[in-house]
Symmetry: C2
Subunit: 344 residues, 2 copies
DNA sequence: TTGTAAGCGTTATCAC
DNA sequence: GTGATAACGCTTACAA
């Protein structure tokens, strides 16, 4: 093989037109004769011609690449997002370039800017928690790079963000727990400098308060969203007398840790303790007992984000704002929560 | 901001040389005067000049993008591989473009070729099970696209592959189980048209046979590597009288399913049944009881694959072959396997 | 509706 | 060792 790929010139020659006209067809310009267009399209198909992205990009200063920036330990989440984005992007001729990074690094902004710059990415999707960085967003905007943030909180104008309404999600969980008769509920937070953590925490506390059940200080443990910290928090919450009858963890990872510790301590879940998490990642359904949790509509968010970024790239922000920007989590009830006092 | 980025021409002008000379410096050509080089390098630094990848690519027909092709349900594995690859690639100036696909699709080859072609990827890394496709590899080679396959079996020349020695891995598991006193062991296979499945299955059976313990037909269940099929296989293996004392599943996902079914059936693990898996994915350490399994050295493989592909791209296959191509899995003993008859 | 010609920012060919 | 100058394959003013 290795025959040289056809260029726009080959197409033009075969169609007996100038390459300018072929270019018009390629870009869907209106001002091409019906006849001519037909002929050119046929030849393109016959030759199996594909425009060269690099040349195209060089001329139009675009790359047809979209970046995805994240620093998230939850691989499943990343994977889902990637697939969701790709679903939309590849249909529109964009490819996805990945960029894991360190949210806490002092060079985060510089690093991300370099990433976008060196490959002339047409735009970037930023995942939580990196998406919460005000400075990064400002820098991207400043440099004129289209971006869309995925977050748990409405912290940018609706052209540039897709948010999952975590606050409403945790309210459902509060209602669920209280509905089961729980009156003494513990909470394991995420890192409190993440908006997602405070949203969930405050949303949950607020809901409980509305139901007349404030969480006492002693029932709150501060975790880091990961398994290890979940283990530690579970210990502090479950050690000693008078433990809570239910624990809500900020992530499934930490909820899994609670299950583990409860198991070690001989506390039966859900009979003696209800446990629930947030995310609905793969762990949630596999673990025993299966976890009651809140599902983040990841794929929906990704799909919206992709539409937004492409609109922003192609229509200069005109259409992007029309794409919906908010999405609702949903309560998934499984085996780890039950009636209190224990129904078994 | 939005000041136009400096080009090679700006550098040339400032240095009072032709752009050809700047280009030489950029590409580390030997034939540039020591003086001249110093001057140019300083100016490059001062201007914070970065060569434009697109233009570079257009001229040299390279893209500085490496693709990664996969169809794998295990998000954690994908994520680990991506990070492993990126670790090496980004240091060398390459970006990673992702491409999930359908291994069983009739258009797999066409689809992947289009992926590589339309973005002029410099090379691709192919993950299992897609990496097992002979036709895809042949097509890639035919078209002159550098590629590296990650697999469980040595099925290409060592320039183009990185393999994990699954066969040796499962042997360790066999020894472990038999060492614990198990004599009646069940096995849940993966899809038998995957080389990885047959490698593990045959490796395990072979090891058992060597120890004088052939697996009877009735102790074998054919799964699909996913949780759902694991559930089904576990049922057939554990239903009725005279169940095996240990079950080895081809993946952790399926092993998790065995745990689930055992739990439902009231069979205690590991006291009444030992269970083990393969992969050491996140599930393995989170689940209760924590899973004894075989760890695939994913990061190592990814790192080797990255080195190989870059060598192939830059040195025209000369150095790639010198990079090691085989990597050893290791046995991770946790809580799901124990002495038989039960030691508790 | 269609064509001409000038870039886009590099690398590559050949002289000098 | 260095420098004109021509590619690379496309888009886009500007004409026609």
């Amino acid at each position: 093989m290795l025959v040289k790929k056809p260029t726009i010139n080959d197409v033009a020659r075969a169609a007996q037109v100038s390459k300018r006209t072929v270019s018009r067809v390629l870009n869907g310009s209106a001002s091409v004769g019906e006849e001519t267009r037909k002929i050119i399209e046929k030849i393109i198909a016959d030759l199996n011609y594909q425009p060269d992205k690099q040349a195209r990009g060089l001329a139009s200063s675009r790359s047809y690449f979209i970046g995805i920036i994240y620093d998230n330990p939850d691989a499943l989440y990343i994977d889902q997002v990637q697939r969701g984005l790709l679903d939309v992007c590849s249909r529109q001729g964009y490819e996805l370039v990945v960029h894991p990074c360190k949210y806490d690094s002092p060079s985060l902004v510089e690093d991300c800017l370099a990433f976008v710059g060196r490959s002339k990415l047409d735009g970037v999707i930023v995942l939580p928690p990196v998406s919460e960085s005000k400075v990064l967003a400002a820098a991207l905007r400043e440099e004129g790079h289209p971006y869309v943030r995925m977050a748990s909180l409405d912290l940018d104008d609706h052209t540039n963000i897709v948010v999952s309404d975590d606050r409403t999600g945790v309210r459902q969980m509060a209602a669920h727990l209280v509905g089961l008769g729980h009156r003494d509920i513990g909470f394991i937070t995420g890192p409190m400098h993440y908006h997602s953590s405070t949203e969930r925490f405050e949303g949950f506390c607020g809901a409980l308060k509305d139901l007349g059940l404030p969480i006492p200080e002693g029932r709150i443990a501060h975790g880091k969203n990961n398994y290890q910290s979940g283990l530690e928090c579970a210990h502090t919450l479950l050690a000693g007398e008078g433990r809570p009858t239910a624990i809500f963890a900020n992530t499934d990872e930490m909820a899994a840790a609670v299950l583990k510790v409860a198991h070690e301590l001989g506390i039966k879940v859900p009979e003696e303790l209800s446990v629930c998490g947030f995310d609905d990642n793969i762990l949630a359904s596999r673990i025993i007992p299966a976890l009651t949790t809140i599902r983040r509509p990841v794929t929906d968010m990704a799909s919206l984000a992709a539409q937004k970024i492409i609109s922003a790239i192609e229509d200069k922000e005109e259409k992007a704002i029309r794409v919906n920007y908010i999405v609702q989590p949903s309560l998934i009830i499984r085996e780890s929560t039950s009636q209190w006092p224990g129904s078994e």
